[in-house]
Symmetry: C2
Subunit: 514 residues, 2 copies
Amino acid sequence: MAESIYSKYPPDLSPAQQRFLVTTVKDWAIQNGLAVRPSPAIIPTVADSNGVLATNAPVTLFPSPFPRTCFEEATALQKIYNELYAAITCNEEWLKEIVEGLIEVDDFVSNLWKVHLDVQKEGYVQTLSLGLFRSDYMAHVLPTGVAALKQVEFNTISSSFGGLSALVRQMHTELLASPPVSPINYPPHPLLQSEIPPENTAVETLSAGLAAAHEAYGVSKSTPALPLCVLFVVQETERNVFDQHALSTQLKTVHNIPVFRVASVDVLDHTSIPSSNSSRPLFYHPPHSPDSTFEVTTIYLRAYYSPDEYKSSRDWLTRTHLERSAAIKCPTVLNQLSGCKKVQQVLAEPTGPDHLSSFLKGIDTAIVERVRGTFAPQYDLSVNSKGRDLALNPDTALNHVLKPQREGGGNNVYKSDIPDFLRSMPESDWRGWVLMELINPAPNAQNVALRNDGEVIRGNVISELGVYGTILWENTGKILHNEQGGYLLRTKGKEVNEGGVAAGFSSLDSVLLF
Amino acid sequence: MAESIYSKYPPDLSPAQQRFLVTTVKDWAIQNGLAVRPSPAIIPTVADSNGVLATNAPVTLFPSPFPRTCFEEATALQKIYNELYAAITCNEEWLKEIVEGLIEVDDFVSNLWKVHLDVQKEGYVQTLSLGLFRSDYMAHVLPTGVAALKQVEFNTISSSFGGLSALVRQMHTELLASPPVSPINYPPHPLLQSEIPPENTAVETLSAGLAAAHEAYGVSKSTPALPLCVLFVVQETERNVFDQHALSTQLKTVHNIPVFRVASVDVLDHTSIPSSNSSRPLFYHPPHSPDSTFEVTTIYLRAYYSPDEYKSSRDWLTRTHLERSAAIKCPTVLNQLSGCKKVQQVLAEPTGPDHLSSFLKGIDTAIVERVRGTFAPQYDLSVNSKGRDLALNPDTALNHVLKPQREGGGNNVYKSDIPDFLRSMPESDWRGWVLMELINPAPNAQNVALRNDGEVIRGNVISELGVYGTILWENTGKILHNEQGGYLLRTKGKEVNEGGVAAGFSSLDSVLLF
């Protein structure tokens, strides 16, 4: 079934059909804010010195087939995953052990941990944490041909594309039904005629999470009381702004909550914590309204997720400043650390203690096993470990990928390259790497992508499904809000002579379930 | 009252305030499709060979004050204006006399008339006509200081900006109320705190007009019956596409009507009229779906309004092809001709026969006089006419502007330049010109515009209010649908040392009534 679906999809396009679809998609994207600011590679900065230009986000012309059982399983498990990562974040002792094993190989983790220790020393003043998560998966084709859901990674900070992916779903849905009465936008194909992409409530779900935190913050901690707001902390040179605006618009228009944006480099200039107030409220001083001060209930980080964003000590100062404030952080430093690859590996390590069951105490064991079923086996490379055996044996290496533990820590190493790669470095560095069993996506999936420079590329693709969830919890473990909703399908071009996912194109997509 | 409003408006902006407003407006525009494709002056065509880039439409940062009485009068009279131009279009004899007076000075009018004569000879097969009109006005400041509504022109073809102007209204309204709870986007100003721009239903009104025509067309005139559609005929190099898409999206999603776009140069390739069918249905053959044929109920012209669009005989062939078909034209050639400046001048000529009352027979005379009250006096320059006296007398010339009768026929001549300008050409050419009493807009109105290249300009401005209306009628004069709704405020930079409106910037705006 899966094979035959992929082998005949998408239908061929005549030049006129492709021209029509591309024109329609290009215009639809700009009409509806499915847009990005163009990179300097598309338009040199000098040619757009006022930064007014925009282009379509990279998108597929067709929605991609995706196994219904995998989609439904990912959706069904998201609230459990939310709980899992909330529980991990609450267990500082457990996280400490993980982090201490990484300090020598990962500066970034080490510095984040220092922020936590500094604030812990002074004492945290906010007991609530907010997570806006995205769990990323592939549909792994088993030797039987059946597809199984396998997790690629779990994002606990700056989970992006919720805003734009909801728009891609809307675009594909409209294309499927257009023009009304006699739809002819796509060439005839059984899948295109029988299915529409499932509803995508990413914007509603993620905004409702932020709104729940804003509400839970309670009244102003200042005297006299200040107006309250949510603060988006963003990258100064962000090009994916419309994805973020989709959430802030929803917060403003549906939840009636003031939202401000501040670039991470400007945080110290435009926010303050009054030293006289032991509750440490975070004040936001809008530069465009010098007489106004707002109190920040919730900090939504769309910045500071990557090591290269911390350019100087001022950035670490900023992060600490935000962390010690009374605002609810989305995420806290601890919650960000819970999303590191090492945590995923320890949870997925088949040979170690059953951490998963410990964190999900109280959850039906059948459900815990379904969560475990989404893990691809992952191993560390410690002395005498199973991981080391699998990595060094040329036969078993063939079924694995070696990933750097560090964020932004280099490229993955695939299959037969693994043994020699490891032997080329001192064993003491091996702890910086994680071995993961390969996920095998459908080998003959295809799609057509419209890049944001307007180039059209047809080819073999690999699709990754991300499912969004949001959870608000107390550091005691008590959960105040836990919801799942919305998804992202990211479809990437595949280089056939390489074991893994490689560049070429990466597009926003939606799903047709089969 | 008016003086004091204009003299203190808009409030000053600090650099931080202006930066904030400009960033907010730039992003809002792209997020919501208040966009245009950039001109080659902004981005050379080679730098965007795939035509993916977009930029904000030129907009004002603030809504502009506009006298409430003038706005309400324009709105109240629109349905009468719709009837007036339907009645003029139905009176071929009367139009013929106008046109015959222009044939020697205006090739364009002459060629349009030939299209009508050709189709008349064969016999029209469609008795219905659709108008999507926009009546443009200024608020004329009388010596008493009171503002009076004065018409600048009446558009019977390709009335544009309905889609984008509704978005500008939405943007200004959101800016006024943002952030929710404690709005601080604009500096404090009494007008900004007490008023919001009136609702703008241009998209709903114009689309409902097209939908009414689609409905009135009835069943397919083909055997077997074909699916029906509306056809937008557009310019090949149109940059204002998102304005048009706002209407087609409304037609597709709200009215459930298939809509296609075809460039005027492609009309003969993608449409046909079967010679075997005396009803002359217009077939549309979508190039992207070779097996499909649609029957066009309604042709919406967003092209062929300007002489420079008729580059060869093929364009006139195309226009004739469309005109002779059974599709309802928006507009017909006769309806387009009714919008020529000469018609406006004859209606507004204070010394001639009372054409207005004749066309509005059956309408309350008080209302007819209100329509007449919106005319600025206009004159031809025939021998012994009042117009000739007013134009040649240096004293009276000071209160007038001389306009070319021909579409695209050159620049206006102002005030003291008029007598010498006329004497510099043979009297036989004077019939190509119309003398119009000057409209005096508020002299000290100001605003700040964000151009579509991102430049910000503050200065003195003149605002022109356009009011949209739509009417569907039979050539017997019977009216099937007549509605008013939505408006455009277009605000232009003013060169203070020049009598009239000059370039600099022209921006989409909305109104705050006072």
